[in-house]
């Protein structure tokens, strides 16, 4: 290893050759402001186009200022990160960026969570001396993501997320000079592109250029409508992140406070998507074992590996990019949609309510869920099984609007029957969790023996692609896991090439799984936040009395009273779906 020695702000520092000034400074606790730069360790995300020029520093003997994010340290460098020249340049750069940015911070969806705003504040920008032309673009409102490109500062983080991490490839810088902007091909709306609505572009956008489609006002309209019974379901990853919106430490579990807040907001029934996650496991593990046993019995046509299907971003991805493989994923609907289907049939019957008078709202860590619930196949006579999906961030905003002191709220429990869940359902919120939950149930169903150990450490972690062989009492089952669509692509290409040895694969579109979803509180580049959320999820699992989906007594009752058996006739009708080839064809 070659090393170089240099000084930064008069402090000596020794680094490996190839280290940038920005990284070297960070090592010794010198914080150089950045804007376009973002690095997410463990996620294959590094964005440093060197475009914004906010991180410039003075290097003695060098004529011009150097961008710290892109300049490698060399032997004997003497660097000043806050000389008058540097500070003035940084302020000028910031003013130039702001000169082509709307001044509507007070009403911007990103206000208070905006990297551009925080930096302007940090640098103490009080006026913009440059007045000139401002760019205007048509706004683009898909069912999940809103693009207001006047607010784009061309940091290119969204492009890195979309193209390199997710390999979805719908965003690119287009045009040149002052006219340049990030857009889908032919400047079409996201809705018409191959966008998966994973929302990772929104998760990294430093400004209000990319935000979520906000449905919280519609939710309040439903709540105050006396003719409607409003049911809410909350996804597992929400409870591990919501607290951050109220200044609590990342990884603080706020399940009880969240339930309490939802009740105070006026929802008639506060239920848990985890209930439906247990239901998903019943269906998905039955499907897995069905295919597996058919394969073991010599059926050559059976599709293996089976792929999980609970992540709507992932579903969109394979429908657009791997349409030749749409018969491989499990046909089980996602927990959000299973919940909606049961709530508007079984539970509505219990309430003696008509379908049209029941409104199902979901709180999700996800933006693709907004799109998912709008899909036609999840509607009955035009009425969606899940009417509205809001993100963790939108729920936080609703709680603030209602003037609730979140931290002081007492802990409360979900309502029954659709609020009961097991630890297996909770871990749906993190990468590796769905397949672990499926294995817990599939093992006991297949071997008819109790699991020797509930925790499958070998399936956990943060690596992009993981694999493990689970011993089903003498039968080795090969499990694959991918999170982030770029990683999913690798496993899919192996399957297409006939090289895959897996029996079952779990795929989550977002890095980290749902804990890193596009609807979660902004991480601002800190991956540790996601890891803390992951630990919280496993902590909630450990604390549960019941940790296997098939042990959920309300699930057993649901099958007994209503559904019959997993993958039976009624289940197929209500809990399974089909996929569509959405690849755009070139007409020739």
């Amino acid at each position: 290893m070659e090393i170089v020695q240099l000084t930064i702000d008069n402090k000596k520092v020794v680094v490996e050759k190839g280290t940038t000034i920005l990284e070297a400074a960070k090592n010794i606790g010198v914080d150089i402001p950045t804007l376009c730069y973002m690095k997410l360790d463990d996620m294959n995300f590094e964005n440093k186009p060197g475009g914004c020029r906010v991180c410039v520093v003075e290097v003695e003997g060098r004529r011009n200022l150097a961008p710290a994010c892109k300049t490698e340290c060399t032997e004997g460098m003497q660097i000043n990160t806050h000389s008058v020249r540097v500070v003035n340049a940084r302020r000028t750069v910031m003013e130039l960026i702001l000169s082509d940015h709307p001044f509507d911070c007070l009403v911007c969806a990103k206000s208070g969570d905006c990297d551009l705003q925080s930096l302007a504040q940090k640098l103490g920008i009080r006026e913009v001396r440059y007045q000139g032309e401002k760019n205007t673009y048509k706004s683009d409102e898909s069912p999940a993501i809103v693009r207001e490109m006047e607010k784009c500062i061309m940091c290119r983080r969204c492009e890195t997320a979309c193209n390199e991490v997710q390999t979805v490839g719908v965003l690119s810088a287009i045009n040149r000079g002052f006219e340049s902007v990030v857009a889908p091909a032919f400047e079409m709306d996201l809705d018409h592109s191959a966008c998966t609505f994973c929302g990772q572009c929104v998760a990294v956008c430093p400004t209000g250029a990319l935000t979520q489609r906000d449905s919280s006002a519609k939710v309040m309209d439903a709540i105050v409508d006396p003719t409607k019974t409003v049911i809410v379901q909350t996804a597992p990853a929400v409870r591990a992140a919501l607290g951050e919106e109220f200044g609590m430490e990342a990884g603080t579990l706020v399940t009880g406070k969240m339930v309490s807040a939802l009740r105070k907001l006026g929802f008639d029934h506060v239920f848990d998507t985890d209930f439906a996650a247990d239901l998903t496991i019943m269906e998905e593990s039955t499907e897995l074992l069905g295919r597996l046993n058919a394969h073991l019995n010599g059926d050559k046509d059976v599709k293996l590996p089976i792929l999980t299907s609970c992540c709507p971003g992932w579903v969109n991805f394979f429908e657009h990019q791997f349409p030749d493989m749409i018969d491989i994923p499990s046909t089980a609907k996602s927990p959000q949609q299973m919940f909606g289907a049961i709530a508007k049939t079984y539970f509505a019957d219990q309430l003696k309510k008509e379908r049209k008078d029941v409104v199902v709202v979901s709180v999700m860590p996800c933006l693709a869920k907004k799109y998912e619930c709008s899909r036609d196949e999840f509607k009955v006579d035009g009425d969606p099984d899940v009417n509205l999906s809001i993100s963790t961030r939108e729920l936080a905003q609703m709680i603030r609007n209602a003037n609730l002191n979140f931290e002081a709220l007492e802990e409360d429990d979900f309502d029954q029957p659709m609020g009961e869940s097991t630890g297996a359902a909770v871990i749906f919120g993190t990468t590796g969790g769905v397949i672990e939950a499926a294995v817990r149930t599939a093992y006991e169903v297949q071997t008819k023996k109790p699991l020797p150990k509930v925790d499958f450490e070998e399936l956990r972690g943060f690596e992009g692609i993981r694999s493990a062989t689970i011993d089903f009492d003498g039968l080795p089952i090969n499990i694959g896991i991918a999170h982030g669509l770029g990683n999913a692509r690798k496993l899919l290409e192996d399957i297409r090439a006939g090289k895959s040895q897996f029996h079952a694969i779990e795929i989550m579109a977002c890095p980290g799984g749902c804990i890193g979803g596009g609807g979660q509180p902004y991480h601002h580049g800190d991956v540790e936040i996601l890891k803390k959320r992951q630990r919280a999820i496993y902590e909630e699992d450990r604390g549960k009395v019941l940790r296997k989906s098939h042990e959920n007594p309300f699930i057993a009752k649901l099958y007994e009273e209503f559904l019959g058996e997993p993958c039976g006739h009624k289940s197929h009708e209500l809990l399974h779906t089909h996929y569509y080839d959405k690849k755009k064809k070139v007409e020739i």
């Binding site: 193209n163 490839g169 719908v170 965003l171 690119s172 810088a173 287009i174 045009n175 040149r176 857009a183 889908p184 091909a185 032919f186 079409m188 592109s193 755009k584 070139v586 007409e587 020739i588």
Partner: protein, 158 residues
């Protein structure tokens, strides 16, 4: 965006070019040059084809097409008019000539008339500075063009 049907023979030819270029993203600009040569311009359908043949995203192809002024998404007219804006032509009044073409045809630079007959583009120096200002219509070169000549030139093609 209207859907157009690409002629099969040209599609096959373009696929052949892409194959010779290794179907690899690094050769994208060369593939686009060939495509524009072949089709005259780069409509969305051609960009989609190039993207799939060169294994890059359509968004990326569109980004490249919109970055370089050489690439055009508008079909050229039956009689493409080019006005030289090189230094010699410019100082001898090329801009006035250009304005006159724009006025007569009611289109901007890079656009094509409604009837598809004429399109206007600018170029830099055709190597005939002695004839400045120079205008070409298709393959025909006009030298020492003045604004007053524009109407007459257009009449030749109407």
């Amino acid at each position: 965006m209207a859907n157009i049907k690409l002629p099969a023979a040209k599609v096959e030819e373009l696929k052949g070019v892409c194959k010779r270029l290794g179907n690899e993203g690094g050769e994208l600009i060369n593939a686009l040059h060939a495509a524009q040569e072949l089709f005259g311009y780069l409509p969305a359908e051609v960009q989609e084809l190039v993207a799939s043949e060169m294994n890059v995203s359509v968004a990326h192809v569109y980004g490249v097409v919109t970055f370089y002024s050489f690439f055009s998404m508008i079909p050229k007219g039956e009689h493409p008019i080019s006005i030289c804006m090189g230094t010699a032509c410019y100082v001898r009044g090329a801009e006035k000539v250009l304005d006159e073409f724009k006025r007569h045809l009611n289109v901007k630079v890079g656009e094509t008339t409604q009837d598809g007959k004429f399109s206007i583009s600018c170029l830099r120096c055709v190597g005939a500075c002695g004839l400045a200002p120079v205008v070409t219509v298709g393959e025909k070169v006009y030298g020492r063009v003045a604004a007053e000549d524009v109407k007459g030139i257009l009449e030749e093609y109407r």
